[in-house]
């Protein structure tokens, strides 16, 4: 029987210097933690979906039944669609920045307010 500290070893870093993409590594650290938390919420949500489907089917909600559950094709599609929707929701600001890049005629409301106050 090997006694390994699974939590620590699962987190092991790959050999080689890690690149940081943001000017401040703290931003990257927070983004990384945020994505991990987002992932765990998605896991909980998928578990809840399983519980709901078991209840609907009249199957006893036991840990064993939750673990044994496999979605049929329709349920699998619905669950994947939920993931896609969820991810686009958490990345909203990035998409809005992308949209702003496409909309070159955006005005600044701050400047507009100053202008309107002056006239």
């Amino acid at each position: 029987m090997t006694t390994l500290d699974v939590n620590t070893l699962a987190n092991a870093k790959a050999k080689g210097k890690r690149p940081y993409f943001f000017d401040d590594p703290a931003v990257e650290r927070v983004l990384s933690i945020t994505m991990a938390v987002a992932g765990e919420l998605a896991v909980t949500r998928e578990r809840l979906d399983t519980v709901e489907r078991l209840l609907e089917a009249g199957t006893p909600v036991t840990k064993a039944n939750i673990d044994a559950y496999r979605p049929d094709d329709d349920a699998a599609q619905e669950r994947q669609a939920w993931h896609a929707e969820y991810i686009s929701r958490i990345l909203r600001i990035v998409h809005q920045e992308l949209e702003a890049l496409q909309a070159t005629d955006d005005v600044s409301p701050e400047e507009l307010a100053d202008k309107m106050a002056a006239s």
Binding site: L4, G16, P19, R47, A76, Q80, A84, S88
Partner: protein, 405 residues
């Protein structure tokens, strides 16, 4: 929702060594797969727009000339906020995949080792050699951010590294490698059978064959051949051999050796092949390796390799930058240099005749629903023609190169 969705993780084949992936771990992989799809199909096109609209013009303004090299693109892009976000998320998702896969493998490591032992013990088809020298290009960084790489051992008889690899590959390609991660090998077997129906190899080597996932379809297609997986890493071979045995491929051999020191007789192979191997080596390794391959092939034998194609004159700058991304940021250091080499010249320098060279493309052969239209924008190994600007070589699966002796 117009876009097609990736398959759920539970659609993959059960792990051959019996690794159990529980409900929440499946969900974790589903989340990460969807993040990869989102990054590849939605945000990645945005980084190109950022390049065209602000990075390129800013470079021109500052330098008084057009941006010209992929390294210039790389350095200029690093200041762009949209790119920073995409790149940080991509790197992070790879790390999360590794974390998730390792947690699954390590949690049940005793059972995995026991199962591998049961399948491996006293079998002459597994030949490990502890004297094998791990090349520097493997030992200095862990390729594609996989802690421990292919050879690392946490405990004696460890198989946790390859188990993690086998469990997690699905996430990065969003299923495009197939339910058993063998779409490439199946494609190669089909390609060879269709192109050369009379080719009946008696002895086949899969160089850098790893866990053999792409080797087994070749063994299946050529049941009379002696098939040998060669790799430097003991854990991948232990795992791969056990996996093959569990799947009923009890004749396939797994031999530990380095490309630099292949323990075989000259003229002794009819086919030496590799998939996704060379980009994880080095320039001297491929140059000398090709010569050694020529030596080991029997007259009338063939060598064939699945890789990303080298850049040509007409490869667009943006494509060069994106293809090199993994070299810089996913611990695949040789990939950038490899892109600039000319494998065809290498082959002729190794002794292959020009008129006996092979080029072609192999399309990943996978279950319905596993290769989505957008798969090429995710996997660095299987870019779709439609997802890249046209190059002189029209290809969509893997680029194949090789030659006859």
């Amino acid at each position: 929702m117009a876009a097609s969705l990736p398959p759920t993780y539970d659609r993959t084949a059960p792990n051959a060594l019996g690794a159990k992936v529980n409900h929440d771990e499946i969900a974790r992989f589903n989340f990460l797969t969807s993040v990869n799809v989102h990054l590849g199909t939605q945000l990645f096109p945005g980084t190109k727009l950022a390049f065209e609209q602000r990075v390129k013009p800013a470079f021109k303004k500052a330098q008084g000339r057009e941006i010209a090299t992929r390294v210039e693109v790389r350095d200029a892009m690093r200041t762009d906020p949209l790119y920073q976000t995409w790149a940080a998320l991509r790197r992070n998702t790879m790390e999360m995949r590794q974390q998730t896969g390792r947690a699954i493998a390590l949690r049940q490591l005793d059972a995995l080792i026991a199962r591998a032992k049961e399948l491996n013990d006293a079998k002459p088809t597994l030949q490990l050699n502890p004297q094998t020298k791990i090349p520097r290009y493997i030992s200095e960084v862990d390729n594609h951010c996989m802690p421990g790489s292919y050879y690392g051992e946490l405990v004696p008889d460890d198989v946790s590294g390859p188990a993690n690899y086998d469990l997690g590959v699905f996430v990065t390609g969003a299923g495009s490698m197939s339910a058993r991660n063998d779409g490439g090998g199946r494609g190669v077997a089909k390609f060879v059978r269709e192109r050369w129906p009379d080719f009946k190899p008696k002895r086949i080597m899969d160089l850098g064959g790893g866990i053999g996932s792409n080797t087994l379809p070749i063994a299946q297609a050529f049941p009379d051949a002696e098939v040998i997986v060669v790799d430097v890493g003991a854990p991948v071979l232990r795992y791969g051999h056990a996996r093959a045995q569990a799947m009923g491929y009890d004749k396939v051999k797994f031999v530990q050796a380095a490309l630099e020191d292949l323990p075989f007789e000259p003229n002794s192979f009819d086919w030496i092949q590799s998939t996704m191997f060379w980009h994880e080596t080095s320039a001297p390794a491929i140059t000398n390796g090709m010569k050694r391959i020529y030596e080991l092939l029997a007259p009338g034998g063939m060598t064939l390799h699945a890789e990303q194609p080298n850049f040509t004159e007409s490869t667009p700058l943006w494509e060069k930058f994106t293809k090199d991304w993994d070299a810089w940021y996913n611990n695949e250091p040789f990939w950038s240099k490899f892109h600039t080499m000319n494998v065809i010249d290498l082959m002729t320098a190794a002794g292959f005749q020009k008129d006996k060279l092979i080029e072609g493309e192999v399309v990943s052969d996978v279950e319905p629903g596993f290769y989505q239209p957008w798969a090429g924008s995710l996997s660095r190994h299987a870019p779709e023609k439609t997802n890249t600007a046209p190059t002189t070589r029209a290809w969509r699966g893997w680029y194949m190169f090789g030659g006859w002796k």
